[in-house]
Symmetry: C2
Subunit: 397 residues, 2 copies
């Protein structure tokens, strides 16, 4: 059973935004005021809920509730979209009135088709169901309500022993396509009952996101709605103020975010593989990232992964066009620990034979040393399959 | 019937590099010394034939023959690959000895799997067949011999009336995957019987390539072998020296390269659509190109094209993450001339209804004005289909 942080209630409803009989609206309410932190998409077009969250967190880094809906992204919807988003906060506050929250206590998120306006009549009609559910639904119910093309819910929970006592950390996220987060993943919520100052909590979340959600790709497309929100409500009465406790909590949240990130790539639309692409010896971390992303987003590398084809030439070709600086002769490539390419030519082994069993694993480690400096980066990348095309050629129909 | 420039002979052979009974070796021999120009891949890993071509052209911008083989790319093959490439020049010179050419008169090109060494025994065995064919084969035969995953040969010919008389220009190319040329396309040959100085010819080719091969994408992957070579042998005895004749010839070669480029995207691996993506009003041409490439390489835009789905939110989302600078409110998007998005929100028409017939055309015009400056760029892009995955998951098997 999932260990849920103290002092949070969960609620869901089937509003029928896209399909009937499927929960597509979720709320998480903290019983007391919580330190709130968020990281958001860097896409120049930012969805209405992203703009509203940023505005609310800028006013005060505290919140009581996280709201999520799936079906419409409420992105590229102009003034009407913003007004609708604010209206959903009022609806959520009404639904959670037993827990005494105000509209400005609610941080909103949405995921779904870009450009469509929210179905406000369905929002209003769903409020009583949400109110009834609140307190009886589970964290897993909310994780399921935020799914779109996801094939499984993504929930990770941990307990952490700190000098001041035990705290619990829970995270959930959704994401399977339009995934190449620059600040966060599609949608993610992190909850803890530790007592953390808002400034520390934000710094901790940003650092964890950089090492997890910002280091994965499904298709190189960064969404307009990417958001990770985190609440720390202090219900454990364990204060996290000293450097050691903060370090332990940061490590715990980072590990939790990495586990959630892995699940996104594992559940990539149509995906069958998770490539762990590590570039070392680059001139800088940024150059290592440039190289890793060129490889991880290459359709030819991704289709070879799908075909279990050890076609390493495509990895080298993608590196060569990445823009990273290095000497071609200095590059060393290994796949699953097997030396494949160095000094500008393939290793003289029977590579196809050696690599065949490695390519059939779900997890494939691709490691490159550029011997040009000390920069490094590891990217998780999915493969590219016929199923991805099917899902995305028919997404709206 | 194709009008072939004067003073060139063509030869082909079925060497069996990949499959038996298919011509996979081609040669074009100019009867006299020709001005020679080339543009090459910017990939940091450059194939052996690319390195040899650049070396030969740096020594002297003149040549007698163009050689092409399909099956092995001879890329990432180290010193052995370079030695093999030089050996193929000798084999070609032997095959064409009736036309009195030396190994250093031959410019080599290759296309196929990266990392495999050339099959030199098959090269040697094919030389007599190539010799016998030389002079009886057609330009179309060579265009067919350079095909790999191409489904049709790509050949365009033009006649041009100049002040000094009539000249002929012929171009051929191959390319269907690993296509996002930065200097040229996969492989292309341009022939003319005009008499042009090497310096003018190179300048003219570079300019034409920038406006054609360098403005298309299939999958965002730039090959290690991209090469366009051009010969001008003067066999028409029409000298092109004056500014007017040079301008006319440049326009003719540019148009010819654009027609060849279109055919590459038309024949994109598994492709069913050609998107003409124009970005205007960017801060610079480079920023317009950045935006156009983000859209044209977006798997989500490409799968929507395949599905004939007017899912314009994906175009806007790709623009938003492209790195181009603009105000989100200022962007105007039209598809097939229909106003879709402006002032940060969709146009209030029944967009799906209006766009449905437009999305079913093979050619789809996507036009964006960023209202941030005067930069512009037009990119030709293919869609992404199940067939692309099939082709590339199984390429080597």
């Amino acid at each position: 059973m999932t260990i849920v942080p103290k002092g949070y209630s969960f609620g869901v409803a089937a509003a029928g935004f896209k399909r009937p009989d499927r929960n597509d609206l979720g709320i998480i309410v903290s019983h007391g005021e919580a330190s709130a932190a968020g990281v958001f998409t860097t896409n120049r077009f930012q969805a209405a809920p992203v703009l509203v969250c940023k505005e609310l967190l800028a006013e005060r880094p505290l919140a009581r509730a996280l709201l999520v809906s799936s079906g419409q992204a409420n992105a590229c919807t102009g003034a009407e979209g913003l007004a609708n988003c604010r209206e959903t906060l009022a609806i959520a506050a009404t639904a959670a009135k037993a827990l005494k929250i105000e509209p400005e206590d609610v941080l909103p998120t949405s995921t779904g088709v870009i450009g469509a306006q929210l179905k406000m009549d369905k929002w209003a009609a769903a409020a009583p169901q949400l109110a009834q559910s609140l307190g009886t639904a589970s964290a897993m119910d909310v994780a399921k309500a935020m799914m779109t093309t996801d094939t499984f819910p993504k929930l990770v929970a941990k307990t952490l022993s700190l000098p001041g006592g035990e705290v619990r950390v829970l995270g959930m996220c959704k994401g399977a396509g339009m995934i190449s987060p620059k600040m966060a993943t599609m949608l993610g919520f992190i909850l803890t009952d530790a007592d953390v100052e808002p400034k520390d909590w934000q710094e901790l979340l940003s650092s964890a996101a950089d090492r997890s959600f910002n280091a994965l790709t499904v298709d190189g497309d960064t969404s307009t709605n990417d958001t990770v929100l985190a609440l720390a409500n202090g219900a454990s009465r364990v204060a996290v103020r000293d450097a050691k406790s903060l370090r332990l909590l940061r490590a715990c949240v980072t590990e939790l975010c990495q586990e959630l990130s892995y699940r996104i790539v594992q559940d990539a639309e149509g995906g069958t593989k998770v490539a762990h692409i590590t570039v070392r010896g680059a001139k800088s971390n940024a150059q290592a990232e440039l190289a890793a992303r060129a490889i991880g987003n290459s359709p030819l590398v991704k289709t070879a992964l799908f075909g279990c084809d050890p076609n390493w030439g495509r990895i080298v070709a993608a590196l060569g066009r990445s823009g990273a600086e290095f000497e071609a002769e200095a590059v060393v490539l290994t796949i699953g620990g097997i030396l494949v390419f160095e000094k500008g030519q393939p290793s003289p082994e029977d590579l196809d034979g050696l690599l065949a069993p490695i390519m059939r694993h779900q997890d494939v480690a691709i490691e490159l040393d550029l011997h040009a400096g000390r920069g490094s980066f590891t990217l998780l990348a999915s493969d590219l399959t016929k199923r991805y095309i099917e899902i995305n050629a028919d997404y709206r129909t």
